[in-house]
Symmetry: C2
Subunit: 386 residues, 2 copies
């Protein structure tokens, strides 16, 4: 597995944005790329056909959920995640570390790893650098993530330091446990909260170990966009220029834009798919709650962009109706719409990097997001006669 640069922005404000290709055993993916989250072997509410139609190139699976159900051994017997869920493209799996940390009182950590109880049936399990890496091998992850600890923010510097140092020891053990195979890779995860020196020490430790790519962990956990961006500002330049950078768990369209401009290549977030299930639509004009009564007779599609999978087919009124009637098709169509919007956004950003027009695009995107819904003058309502 390797990453290849195709273009890079040269101007001051966008000096770090870059377009490239991630070449893997399961296909090549243009970067920057957004990875839809397929927690337990399915991106919720969407078929892999529909997912492919959005242009998604790589998706994410969650080690914590999959190890509990259907279990890594079973996924292995079923031919791996790709075959099991009919997604022949690349799959990145997380290490389970972050999700296990979120279990709170259900987990206990020690130097060697984490013991926890399943949220499903209370059964006891253990994750270590070695077992996490082995599970991801059994899942047939194209990209394996190193096992790490992710402390909640805000945290004292001491906590962050202890935690980061442990994560670096775990990273070394994860690398040791990883079975190198052509077209497969493993990413280390930079920790250290929002502390510049800790982040730099973390990068150094990971580069000493050596990975096929580097993830920025421990962000998007409540610190706010400004702190997240400033952390990227001092972390990204430390990372190797010829390897992919993955900002974990991010984010809103505006987060993605800002992070790409700071040099990040890969992202994952449940936001667009979760929003799709709760009636929130992402558009070029910000988000809209499709349950809102103002959509009940709105004959327009959600967005005038013909590239949406709903364009020319489904009105806002219909989507509104589906959610009001609690029909599954509402979440299904809106998940599809939102994931398509995210992919479209990444394609736009990528093209602008290649064309050298990213600053102009960024300005336009941000201005549009803040405008709110199209007026009827901008985007007239079709009238139907029968």
């Amino acid at each position: 597995m390797y990453w290849q640069e195709e273009a890079r922005c040269g101007s001051d404000s966008t000096g770090w944005a870059r377009a490239g290709w991630l070449h893997t055993r399961h296909g090549s993916v243009p970067t920057p790329t957004f990875m839809p989250v397929g927690t337990v072997g399915t991106v919720k509410g969407i078929t892999t056909d529909a997912l492919r139609s959005t242009g998604a190139g790589i998706i994410l699976g969650n080690t914590y959920h999959l190890m509990l159900r259907p279990t890594a051994e079973r996924v292995h017997r079923l031919g791996g995640l790709h075959r099991m869920m009919d997604w022949p493209g690349p799959i990145l799996t997380d290490s389970g570390g972050f999700q296990v940390m979120s279990l709170g009182p259900l987990r206990q950590m020690d130097e060697d790893g984490v013991t926890f109880r399943s949220h499903i049936d209370g059964s006891k399990h253990r994750l270590t650098a070695e077992s996490s890496t082995d599970i991801q091998f059994k899942l047939d992850a194209t990209i394996t993530m190193a096992f790490d600890e992710c402390p909640a923010l805000p945290a004292t510097k001491e906590t962050l330091e202890t935690s980061m140092e442990r994560s670096m020891r775990w990273a070394a053990r994860s690398r040791e446990a990883f079975k190198a195979r052509p077209g497969y890779g493993q990413f280390g995860i930079v920790q250290g909260g929002t502390e510049e020196d800790l982040r730099k020490r973390s990068v150094k430790a990971l580069r000493n170990i050596g990975f096929e790519g580097y993830a920025i962990g421990g962000l998007a956990v409540g610190e706010g966009q400004e702190l997240m961006f400033s952390t990227l500002d001092f972390t990204i330049p430390e990372l190797p220029a010829d390897q992919p950078r993955y900002l974990m768990g991010v984010g809103t369209p505006d987060d993605l834009l800002g992070a790409v401009m700071r040099g990040c290549d890969m992202f994952d977030c449940v936001m667009p798919s979760r929003a799709g299930r709760t009636a929130r639509a992402y558009t070029e004009r910000g988000t809209m709650n499709m349950r809102n009564a103002r959509f009940a007779d709105d004959t327009r599609p959600i967005s005038p962009d013909d590239d949406s999978p709903l364009a020319g087919r489904y009105s806002r009124a219909y989507i509104h109706h589906l959610f009001r009637a609690n029909e599954m098709l509402g979440p299904m169509l809106l998940t599809w719409h939102n994931l398509a919007y995210y992919q479209r956004l990444m394609r736009q950003i990528r093209s602008a990097i290649i064309d050298g027009t990213l600053p102009a695009l960024a300005q336009k995107l941000r201005a549009d997001w803040s405008k709110g819904d199209w007026t009827e003058e901008e985007f007239p309502k079709p009238q139907f006669t029968l």
Copy 2:
């Protein structure tokens, strides 16, 4: 709207089965045909694209549900049901009569119609022959059903007679209220329970009024397959040979086969889609509960038939996993599978009618349904290596 015969079975045991075409304003549909139920402007859990891929030609909408939400007026403003739900093909709507009757204490009937309270918000509504027909017009139904009363079985002959006679008066009023348009049609509904003389009188009354097709109502309400079939045996010969016959609310694959052999052309039933949402798979070997633990490691597809939309893509183990994990994709995929099975079955039956091989097919289908799941010798489990 009209129906055209393509072939008819000549042998004794299948003398009434026939293949034909239903030509409508919204396209032509081969019969016999099974109509998936799209209660409230969506066939639950499936996109219209996937529905089309199964070969479904005509679908059903429910007047009762649609009049309450999003309302007939709103559907009309949105360009009719076809445009609203992106189903350009033919749509048959029921009259609301049957569903309103099922409301029990929430409804009150008089000679003119039914007053009832909405199951959604308790609001008061009224349906009459005229308003039901008008609602179906506003929905842009390709086929409008006459407003009728459907008594629960068993019922005294007196109840059945009074009810049937009222339904016939309502049928005449429905016909009066129907706006004839090229390619659109209206069906009368034969009532009379399982009483031969009542059924015959009902057919006579409807033929005197004159419709584009005739439905058999009041069956599949608990009377059992034998009584249903014997009722068809004495009812169908009374109906015009050159018009379509629709058996309402039926049924299992075996019901469909038996009813086609008795001369029915059209069917609707929630069974395959509802079963899909509750983990029950329809196959050539009967039904299977996909939640059953024996599927947890079953690498085979649900059925060896390559015509299933899941064939070559999803294992039984994966479908099992999705239902165990309460993932939306489970109901989505299984609804698709079941509706595809029903359409495949109708195609097989239709081909056999044309080829004159229906008795042999019927024997084979019934034998297979009773065999139960394929053995591993008949249908081996693929082994995967990673």
